[in-house]
Every structure is written in C-alpha cells, then in structure tokens.
C-alpha cells in the first residue's frame, strides 16, 4: 500500500470521544493516503469525522475526552501517533501545516499580520529581522495580496475575509511544508473569493510541489481541484477513487445520493433529490453498514455485516458489496473480459 510516492498514509485510524457513559466513534477506522504533489479531498457531510481525522494527523485531538483508539499515521515513514509532543511541535507548521475554515477568527486580533506570519517562520527557523521581513513580504506576494509592504502593518480586522484567508495560507506556507491540510478554507467566503482562493491553492501546489489534503463538503470544489477523492460517511470511508471515477461512475449509494442532490441545469424546475433520514449519532451507530437505514438498495444483510471494500478497478473502491454483486460490472471487469474475448476470437 505504501510505496515511495506516498507522503502520508493513514491506516485504520480510530478516534473516539468518551463523554460520560457514551463513546462517540467520530472516526471509526478510516484509511487514506496522500501521495507527493497530489490534491486529495475528503468529502462528507458535517459530523462525519473529516476535521477530526485532520486534527489527529497533527496530534491536536484534545485528550480527554478524545482518544486515539487505534491505527497508524505514517508520515514519511514515521508513525506520528508514537511521537511525543516535542517532536510533534517540530512537525506542525514545519512539515504539515493547516488552513482553517474561519479566516475571521483564525488570526489573532491583537497582532499585525507581519507579526503573525513572522512568528510562523520564527517558531521553526532562526533567522534575522531583516530577512524575516523580506520573507513575509515574499509570502504575501506569493499569496497575491496587493501592496504587501503596506499591508504588513495591518491588523486582521483591517483586511477582508478573502485577504485574511490569503494571510492564513501565507502562514501555512511559511516553512515550506510538505503537506497542507485545508479544512474547508472557502466555506466562509463568497463565491468569487472562493474561486480565487481555490485558484491560489492550485497554483501554489504546482509551483511549490506540495501535497494538499482538502477537506470539504462542497462537491463543486472537489470537482474543481481534486486529484483523488475519499467520500466519508459517519466516520468511515465509503468510496474512494480519482475525481472522474467518483463523479461519473459513483458506486456507493451514498455517493450516488450526494451527486443526485446537487442542483444542475438538467434538473431545473424539478424538486431536488435529498437522501432520506439523517446522519446517525456517532455514539449510537446502526450495526452493519452505517448508511443502511437511509440506503435505497439496502437488504437485510446490510444491517448485520460490516461492509467490505469492493475493488472496482484502478484504485476505485466502494464499501458496498450489495451493489458490487448485483449491478453491472465495473470498468475493471470489462478490462478483464474484453481481452479474453479477443483472444478467443
């Protein structure tokens, strides 16, 4: 699974939150990997464990109540879960950086942006004041803030939301990390700014050859930037594959439902599809497949057996054995059948 190209690979990660007698299984055995210079999206609705898995990569799950119940997070061959706090601090910001959802509250209101970007550098690197200032200006230029020299002395409240998010990205870029985790960075921004920020992330990723783990619930954004997609539901990965596979050839009923509920031009005037029911409470998940109470294809066995990952082809996996058995064969099966037929003829 882990080859040389893998930057970070999360294997069977379980994060539980214990409150009183309840145990909320926020992340219940997810595995994913991010390769070098790749953009990977984690998609899912609120509360499905996207942010928790991102935070556990950085070792920022508050314990207690949180608890990492199992799994490994291999980053460049090291298991991050076994590192102590000091070593984690060397990785945070330096090798893995994070961009948050709310640019309005993620910047400290009492410091100028020069202080804040400068600090992001200072924590990990020991450089002089003049050089520090130059690097701040260069970072601000890189993230496309106009007249960066004048902006250095500004406080966060003097910037617009989009500019603040750019500053946050500049802070994340400060130490040239290998991986940027972007936790819904465009959710709080309006659509035009969102497009700009996405464009910025794309170009930065190309020029600096970093990997991006992009967490979002917005399928439009996913289609725009992702190389590969992991669809999450209730703490597990339900489907994974590259962007084309997920959008044109969805194999899991949840992914299909998500795509069907997107508004599109062909559905104009019609009622939008919505998946019936609600997300299960993470403390009281249904037995078997967590999606089966809402699933149109559910059969009795779904409520008993935990579904296995079914391999469709070319790393396109979906956690639904029912559809795998019943439906038409996936592309991989074609690939297997057609050459044989050719040979026979």
């Amino acid at each position: 699974m882990a080859n040389n190209n893998t930057l970070i690979s999360v294997q069977d990660l379980k994060v539980y939150f214990r409150t009183g007698h309840e145990c909320a299984r926020a992340v219940d055995g997810i595995s994913f990997e991010v390769r070098k210079e790749e953009t990977v999206c984690l998609v899912g609705e609120s509360g499905c464990g996207k942010t928790v898995s991102a935070l556990s990569i950085l070792g920022l799950i508050p314990t207690p109540p949180g608890e990492i119940a199992g799994g490994r997070i291999l980053f460049q061959g090291k298991n991050l879960l076994e590192l102590d706090e000091e070593d984690m601090q060397k990785i945070r910001g330096n090798r893995i950086a994070m961009v948050f959802q709310e640019p309005l509250t993620s910047l400290n209101p009492v410091f100028t942006i020069e202080d804040q970007i400068g600090e992001a550098i200072c924590i990990h690197k020991n450089i002089g004041a003049v050089e520090l200032r130059d690097r701040c200006i260069k970072l601000l230029k890189d993230v496309g803030i106009p007249s960066p020299v004048q902006r250095l002395k500004d406080y966060p409240h003097q910037l617009s939301g989009g500019q603040r998010q750019r500053v946050m990205i500049a802070m994340a870029l400060a130490c040239d990390p290998d991986l940027i985790i972007a936790d819904e960075p465009t959710t709080a921004l309006d659509v035009t700014v969102q497009a700009q920020i996405l464009q910025l992330l794309k170009s930065i990723q190309k020029t600096r050859s970093m990997s991006v783990l992009y967490i979002t619930h917005d399928l439009g954004v996913v289609a725009n930037i992702a190389d590969r997609v992991y669809v999450m539901y209730s703490g597990i990965v339900t489907e994974q594959g590259n962007t084309a596979q997920i959008f044109h050839d969805a194999r899991h009923p949840y992914t299909q439902g998500l795509l069907a509920s997107l508004p599109s031009r062909s559905k104009r005037g019609k009622r939008l599809y919505s998946i019936p029911g609600t997300v299960p409470n993470p403390a009281y998940k249904p037995a078997g497949c967590p999606f089966h109470p809402r699933c149109p294809h559910a059969i009795p066995i779904c409520g008993k057996e935990y579904p296995k990952m079914c391999d469709y082809s070319q790393a396109h996996l979906a956690r639904c054995p029912v559809l795998f058995k019943n439906k038409k064969p996936g592309p991989k099966d074609y690939a297997l059948v057609i050459p044989r037929g050719d040979l026979l003829c």
Binding site: P64, A97, T105, S106, V110, P146
Partner: protein, 390 residues
C-alpha cells in the same frame, strides 16, 4: 514603453485604496476622549505621578529642597500659607517657598514637604503591590484557564506535602529527620521520572496505582485556593502579617500584593476559558507553537484588557489600604512620612489644626477617585461591547 508592455511588467500591481491608517492607540484615544470624567482622572493621575517623582527628588538627598524631617518646635501648628517667623529660625530652617504652603504639624514640620514624600510612598505602594498581585493573578489564572482540565495525581499531592513538611522540619531544627524526608521525596521524584521516560506503565504494581489516580483538577485546586483567600477578611490578615513582620514599606507592598491577586486570577481564568476555544489558538497550535508561547504571547494580550482595568482600580485600593495601615500605626515606620501617618498624627489636633487631617484626606480622596474614574474610562475603551455608540 507602451501600455501593453507596462501591463505585463511583473512588478506592476493595482493598488487598492487603503483604509485610513489608525493605530490601536489612536482608536483608543478617540473613544477615551469622549469620556470627560476619565480625562479628568487621567489628568489628575499624571499630575500625581509628576508630583510624586518631583517630590522624591525634592525631599531626599543630603540637602533636600523641602526637608520633611526638619523640626521647628517654635513654629508648630501654623496654618496653611502662614509666613514663618523669620527671627526665630536659622537660615536653613526657612522653608524654600518662603511660606508654609500647607501649614506645619505639631513638631513644626512642613506638611507640604511631608505630603510630597508621602506621594512617592503612595505611588510605589500602589504600583508595586498591584504589580505583584497582577503577576500572581495572571500566572495562576493562566494556568487555571489553560491547563484547568489536567489533573494532579495523588502522588503529586503527597510529594508536595512531604517536600513542604521536610523543609519545615529542617527549618524547625530537626535537621536529621527533615533531611531524610527530603532525600526520600527527591528519590521518589527521580524514580517516577525515569519510569515515566521508559513508558513503563505496565510494570506498575497494583498497590502503586493508587498513587497514579487523579486527585483533583488543576482548575478546581487553584479556584478553591482563590475562594479560601477571598474568605479571609483581607485587611485583618494584612494587619496580622504586618504585625509579625518587621515594619518596612517593602513588606507592606508585598503583603498587599499577596492578598489581592484573587480578582485578577478570576478575570484571567474566565478570559482564558473562552480564548482557549478560539480558532486562532488552534491555528497557532498547528503552526507548532508550544504551550508557553501560546499562553503568554497569544492569549495573554487578548486577556489583558479586564486585568488592566482591575489593576487601575486596584492601585486605588492599595493606596487606601496603605493609608489605613499607616493610620493605625502598622504602616511605614515613623520618620518617613506617608499620607496615612500624616492623617493619623493630625487626628489629635483635629480641632486646633484641621488642615493636618483635611489635606492628606482630600489628597487620598482625589487620587483614589481619579484612579477609579480612569479605570472606568479604560474599561469603556477596552471593552467594545460596553461602548456607547455615538
């Protein structure tokens, strides 16, 4: 160069119109200016500050301009603005203004000189005592707010108790027993330190697990200490402590500081509880900042506003407390003048020489009032939610 070339020039950037630049201080001043009483408070505060510093220079040294200790028995209880009787005074005994601005006391000492000397005492007592209390308060409140959910284990409590009792025994001259206790405790600390580093959680025997249990959370412990401290009638606590300690101005500052940090602790803890959950703290954590940096560099500046306000009002309280102590005779030792002991000396002559009580009394009133007004203005400025919209 034509326009097209200019457009492709990399250095060229469109300038967006900038927001008018105002620093935070300028913005604060704009709001502060609208509060007339606070301006008055600030003005008196600055005046008092200047008086105290000038007073320090004019009343100390080998040949002071105003000598607060100069005794002229023939000139006792002269009213304010009285001219000295030049015939009965030697040359160096004549006050430098040419008259007694605030009269003289029962030993013929110049009250103006004594007030100047006392102003410096009041100022230092106010600032040093509040400084001590704010430092303790920020430290305790910061720990309670940030590390509040951490637990202290049973063995921590035991070790602390043993260390204190060992040190106590050594100080109480039963050195052999105390030293043995201290050595044992230190040995246990080293032992637990090494076992912890080898992460040998499995090898702990079952009886020792009692020591590893969580005894009390940090937050509970610190806040209960605060509650206990608040239960003491602090003025009587100060009186007792001052009676036990040698009388000196430094002891008074320290004692006032040590008995008034609870308010600050509560403020800082409350602020920290809400700041801890803010996104920017999480953002700084993802940058790899350590706890120390997060607490003191990122959270403290955000929590400092209510502390500043309470400190300003605390200075006034400290000045009052010092004056009260001096009035009761537990304060600064006699030859040194403070407003409190001028007042207390004057109370015997309140009908013959009312200025001896009125002048220091009114000075205390004005200074304390100005600090309170200033503090209130500061609160309006620093807490935007309380600001009136104009």
């Amino acid at each position: 160069m034509n326009i097209a070339e200019k457009g492709f020039n990399e250095d060229f950037q469109f300038e967006t119109p900038l927001v008018p630049k105002r620093t935070r201080l300028q913005e604060f001043w704009l709001v502060f200016k609208q509060n007339r009483l606070a301006i008055l408070g600030l003005f008196i505060f600055i005046l008092f500050f200047c008086c105290a510093i000038m007073g320090l220079f004019m009343t100390s040294g080998p040949d002071p301009l105003f000598d607060p200790a100069m005794i002229r028995l023939q000139e006792k209880l002269r009213p304010p603005l009285a001219k000295p009787n030049l015939d009965s005074l030697r040359h160096e005994e004549i006050p430098c203004l040419g008259f007694y601005l605030m009269g003289t006391d029962d030993l013929g000492r110049d009250v103006f000189a004594r007030m100047l000397q006392g102003a410096w005492v009041s100022l230092t007592v106010g600032f040093v005592a509040v400084g001590i209390s704010v430092l303790i308060g920020i430290f305790m409140g910061g720990i309670a707010g940030y590390f509040g959910q951490h637990h202290i284990r049973v063995d921590h409590v035991l070790v602390t108790f043993l260390l204190i009792s060992g040190a106590g025994l050594v100080m109480a001259h039963s050195i052999r027993f105390g030293a043995a206790l201290l050595c044992l405790t230190l040995a246990y600390i080293f032992y637990s330190f090494f076992t912890q580093n080898r992460s040998g959680e499995k090898s702990v025997p079952s009886w020792a697990k009692v020591f590893r249990k969580n005894a009390v959370s940090v937050d509970t412990m610190i806040m209960r200490i605060v509650d206990i401290m608040l239960c003491f009638p602090s003025f009587f606590l100060i009186l007792t402590v001052v009676a036990l300690l040698p009388a000196s101005i430094y002891n008074i500052m320290i004692v006032i500081g040590l008995t008034s940090w609870m308010g600050t602790t509560r403020f800082v803890r409350a602020e920290f509880l809400s700041l801890r959950e803010q996104d920017f703290v999480a953002a700084v954590k993802t940058l790899g900042a350590g706890n120390f940096r997060i607490i003191f560099r990122h959270m403290m500046p955000n929590a400092i506003a209510p502390v500043l306000v309470s400190a300003t009002i605390g200075i006034a309280t400290a000045i009052l407390t010092e004056a009260g102590l001096s009035f009761l005779g537990f304060g600064v030792p006699p030859p040194h003048a403070t407003w409190g002991n001028i007042l207390s000396d004057g109370k015997n002559f309140i009908f013959d020489a009312p200025w001896l009580t009125f002048i220091p009394g009114i000075a205390i009133l004005i200074v304390v009032l100005s600090f309170n007004l200033f503090g209130e203005g500061l609160r309006d400025v620093l807490n935007p939610k309380l600001r009136e919209r104009h």
